[in-house]
Amino acid sequence: MLRNAWYAYGKAYSLENLKRLWNFSAIWIFFYMLFLLPVNILEVQDGKHLALYYLKMLPLMFMILNNALVLLTMPKRMFLCPMNKQQRKKYVLNLFWIKVLVPVLVGIVFNLLELFLFKTSMVYFGSLVIAFFVVNFSTCLFPQLNAREKRKRGWENLIMGASSVWNGINMLLACVQIGLIMYLEKYEKALSMGEGIALGISTVIQILLCILIWKKNMPCIIAEATDYEICFRIRKNSEKNALNRG
């Protein structure tokens, strides 16, 4: 799989690939320096800041939304390269691995570092890992819904994404978990056995749901991402939405 991921970015194990990976990591480092580091310093100096947890989510959200968008905006030149549908699907799938999984892995490494360097709580670390799963796999659905629901535009799709049953349950679980973590942090409570089991079970359910959603939707995402007309309609719509928002 990793070899395929490398392949998606050109000649295997070449300097260009390393440069690309560096670009990904550089974005992470940039966001880390911009948001996470000041937040951590503040936290260490000034005790607990629950609102800062949300702030910590921002770079993650940017990163993942960007990845989901990039997945569906592969260069037009690729549609003109001599590849058949199958080869193009493989290319997009490889792109998916490197665009979604690499940031997740890099993010986890950063959070592990954070855990050891800044001694943040294990609970907080757990919440970030959960958020990684939820945000990653959920946002993957939005472009696909964009493509399927041609009449709907922009933020309507986000609502649609959240309203699809599995995704809704998933989001709800994430909210409960984050709420529980915030409650524990606020009252400086340790996890009781029951709470720990509840958190553990909900996390397992959540991960299973993510896999289910991913398995169910990934073939559609790939099929739609490899269709020029759909791909570029989405790009056009997202450009229009960006203009409207701007």
């Binding site: 050109g10 000649k11 260009e16 670009n23 260069p75 037009k76 030149r77 549609f79 003109l80 390269c81 001599p82 590849m83 058949n84 549908k85 080869q87 020029y228 007309e229």
Partner: protein, 306 residues
């Protein structure tokens, strides 16, 4: 006949039957707020076909259909006798493109872009690609994003030639070229088709270059193909008259395609017939493509014949 096509034409170069490079049969395609209607055309090997028409006529949509980026709603598109649904990779392997958009990876250098996209093509030659870059004055180590519009089109053209395609599709490239490169570009295009087995489709609304080198002209307007004809036949079939309006009006009305009266006389595009005897006071010339395009567009928009 005013609108003629060269569909089903039996074409031969040096006595050898030439395979159709591009064949469109009654192709209809609806895109957002616009539709191409029943386009039929056939382009043989060894020719340069000019795709002309005003802005928004459907030139780029037609090129996208030929490139396989869009699928026709009705009708069929076959390239080198193959269909996109069955042999997409083989078709693209033989097709070079130069489009108005930025096609390559902005963060890679020209050399890296060539190497990255070139590996998909069976006949890509890196040495030739680098030679072309040098010839066109492009530094291989420069980042793609740093190129100006004209340089970017030069780069696309160099890449397109470097994988030795049989069909070259160009979407309005010449407008961004400096005069010196424009000459070089036209020479390279002629050299490209010189073996009689390769073709070029050049979409443009700048018709000067087509006057000099196109073999066929396809004229589009509002999504309809009004004309698709050999340029020699086209020139032979029409005349541009300049002089007194009443002298032009003496010709049969149905042969006057468009006439415009100015302060110092009139000019008219007419459908030429061998039997016509033009008044000696009239200036008679072969129409340029620009004049043909102008008069036909005016007529379609309700311009008066006389």
């Amino acid at each position: 006949m005013f609108f003629r096509t060269f569909l089903e034409r039996d074409i031969a170069v040096e006595g050898k039957a030439v395979e159709s490079m591009v064949k469109l049969e009654t192709v209809t395609k609806k895109v957002e707020g616009f539709s191409l209607k029943e386009i039929s055309m056939e382009i043989p090997g060894g020719y340069i076909c000019g795709l002309i028409g005003p802005n928004g006529a459907g030139k780029t949509t037609l090129l996208h259909l030929i490139m396989g980026l869009l699928k026709p709603d009705e009708g069929s598109v076959s390239i080198f006798g193959k269909n996109f649904s069955e042999e997409e990779a083989a078709i693209h392997d033989d097709m070079g493109v130069v489009l108005q958009e930025r096609l390559f990876d902005s963060y890679l250098s020209l050399k890296e872009n060539g190497a990255y996209y070139g590996r998909f093509y069976s006949r890509y030659e890196e040495v030739y690609f680098l030679e072309l870059l040098q010839k066109y004055g492009l530094e291989p180590g420069r980042k793609y994003k740093a190129l100006s519009k004209g340089e970017e089109l030069k780069f696309q053209f160099a890449f397109a030639l470097s994988h030795h395609p049989r069909l070259l599709l160009l979407d309005e490239p010449t407008g961004n070229f400096d005069p010196e490169f424009r000459e070089e570009f036209l020479t390279d295009l002629k050299e490209f088709i010189s073996d009689g087995e390769r073709s070029v489709i050049l979409a443009t609304h700048l018709t000067d270059d087509l006057d000099r080198m196109a073999d066929y002209i396809t004229y589009l307007e509002d999504g309809k193909m009004l004309l698709s004809q050999n340029i020699e036949e086209l020139r032979e079939g029409y005349r541009m008259l300049r002089g007194e309006a009443y002298k032009i009006k003496l010709l049969p009305q149905e042969n006057i395609i468009y006439m415009e009266q100015g302060e110092f006389g009139a000019k008219a595009l007419i459908e030429h017939r061998r039997r016509f005897q033009y008044d000696a006071a009239l200036t008679v010339s072969y129409p340029t493509i620009e004049e043909l395009m102008y008069c036909m567009t005016k007529r379609r928009k309700g311009g008066k014949r006389c």
